[in-house]
Symmetry: C2
Subunit: 331 residues, 2 copies
């Protein structure tokens, strides 16, 4: 594991190529890589946790990348932060992610010395993608990035995942798009910490104020996610870079609120525990995939299904009984 | 299993309450129910497969429910079909589905004798939701519903799932909404069999024709999902019930195309095999959850994590070694 110690050192010293390699290692399916990844995570774990973790969600076209670029650049320039941008995209089954897309879209940010942009891992399994984004967060923190922005792609499942890995969840809306278009899944509002109306470009400021006020009124009808925190509704133009400072300050005051209410530490602990449980489940899956007796039974199932001579679902009932017989009677 | 035989009979005889009970049984997590569900599926399996399975997707506000209502009503009135509407919503973690929503939205269809509307099952796990929708399809077919419409909720993960369970995948777009808003995940276009521009209401027909033609041109640049099938782009007003017949006829000709190319049978077999594999994985999961030795190890992991005295990720490496030691040495 000497090699992994070296990698850990390089990551801590801000070597971007090493950070990329580390994240790739954590995404790998190879058994050796998995052991190395766990070792790497333990090496880096003591140096994690010192960032603001921000989740950004919104329908396609809401301008998530433009906002992230504006917010990231702002926090580097005005607050001397180091910014890492990660993406979570559970739907990227066929296409191999959007590396080029992200880099092109966040042109200004991607050239900054203090920014690190990583596209979404491509896994079919949602547990996988969430888990990989969570380990990437830890690695970026160990590399001294102190603002981590996680962008969701898609509406639905990815919001659940992101809600379990960030401190503050920002929902982006579009000024003037109409309720029909941006109608959010009911569930999403239960996880949101702040709402931002984007595309409040020059001339649209009044409209933005009206829509933000309406949404604020509507949100007042829902119970808060945390006691004492009513969801702020802001507006901005990510394109014209207006309203960015207010977003930053709201994120900071949310962070303070979580700290004061002693929610912060508990939430981070829960998130780590979730990650560990998800990795535990993965270890079990990998173990089972290598288990000879189980593999023999599964092959028999496939043959039965191909032969089509027995009722297909009954094969599973028999499988269950065999598993129980072989593995439970041994105890 | 006498009781399940009786339930199977009732489902085959068109008893809607029995069909609902059967679907609920297949969604249950109880071990007894799981065995009963497998038995029920084998009883009904010989009577499945005789439907057109249609997937409908599109962003929130595209008018999916309105289209499904129009298409469903049309196929009952004009083609004496019996229509079942299922929903797949992997994001429904917190809220308990949208029963009321669906019933209210599809008011006309829900009162029809020949229609059956079932809201999305509510599971956190995507595998779970997809699997439950697939078993619900089989049950509806056994109950002699010959048009099964599966509606996706959300953009992203659910399209992947739906693509693995239907014959024809219909993507709904909105006339005049602008590319920005409806920008689809790149992946989705690879699964689409037909595109329909909705909201081509009176006065918007020309605009709809132009947008449909543009999209058709753009789609020509992509390779087809099936040889010889170029993706038709239609337009309709689900609200004013125009263009519905053309949608129906396109679905039928797609079905014919799949049959001629001998894709149909193969695709259905693959889908069944996927379902069986997903159920097999579930059997394994349930088995593991009951396994004493594994549970002891997992409890030790939790205690280690709580104590915070050992590196948290190393606990997983140790877990892997223990699993291997206990279960592989036995062989």
């Amino acid at each position: 594991m000497e090699e992994i110690n070296l990698l850990a050192d390089k990551i801590r010293n801000g070597d971007r190529a090493a950070l990329s390699r580390g994240i790739t290692l954590c995404e790998s399916d190879l058994a050796l890589h998995k052991s190395q990844a766990l070792f790497l995570l333990d090496q880096l774990y003591p140096f994690t946790g010192n960032s603001i973790r921000i989740g950004v969600s919104g329908i396609p076209g809401a301008g998530k990348s433009t906002l992230i670029e504006a917010l990231g650049t702002y926090s580097i320039d005005r607050h001397q932060k180091r910014v890492a941008v990660l993406a979570i995209d559970p739907s990227s089954e066929q296409s191999s992610g959007s590396i080029l897309g992200d880099k092109t879209r966040m042109e200004a940010l991607s050239t900054r010395q203090d920014a690190f942009i990583r596209p979404s891992p491509t896994k079919t399994q949602l547990g996988g993608v969430a888990q990989q984004t969570q380990t990437a967060i830890l690695l970026c923190e160990a590399a001294a990035y102190d603002v981590i922005i996680v962008e969701t792609v898609g509406v639905g499942q990815s919001e659940i995942a992101i809600n379990h890995m960030v401190d503050v969840f920002l929902l982006l809306q579009i000024v003037g798009a109409g309720d029909d278009i941006q109608a959010m899944k009911r569930g999403v509002l239960e996880w949101v910490d702040m709402v931002v109306f984007n595309k409040a470009d020059q001339g649209k400021e009044t409209q933005a104020r009206v829509e933000a006020a309406n949404m604020s009124k509507a949100l007042g009808l829902f119970p808060s996610k945390y006691a004492g925190w009513s969801i702020p509704v802001l507006s901005c133009s990510a394109l014209e870079k207006t309203g960015i400072e207010a977003i930053w300050e709201t994120i900071i005051s949310h962070q303070l609120h979580l700290n004061q209410k002693e929610i912060f530490k508990k939430q981070r602990e829960d998130q780590l525990n979730n990650l560990l449980c998800s990795l535990e489940a993965q270890v079990l899956r990998v173990f089972l995939a290598q288990h000879k007796k189980i593999n023999v039974l599964r092959k028999e199932n496939q043959l039965n299904w191909q032969a089509k001579e027995v009722p297909p679902f009954g094969v599973l009932e028999a499988f269950k009984k065999q598993l129980t017989k072989i593995f439970l009677e041994e105890e």
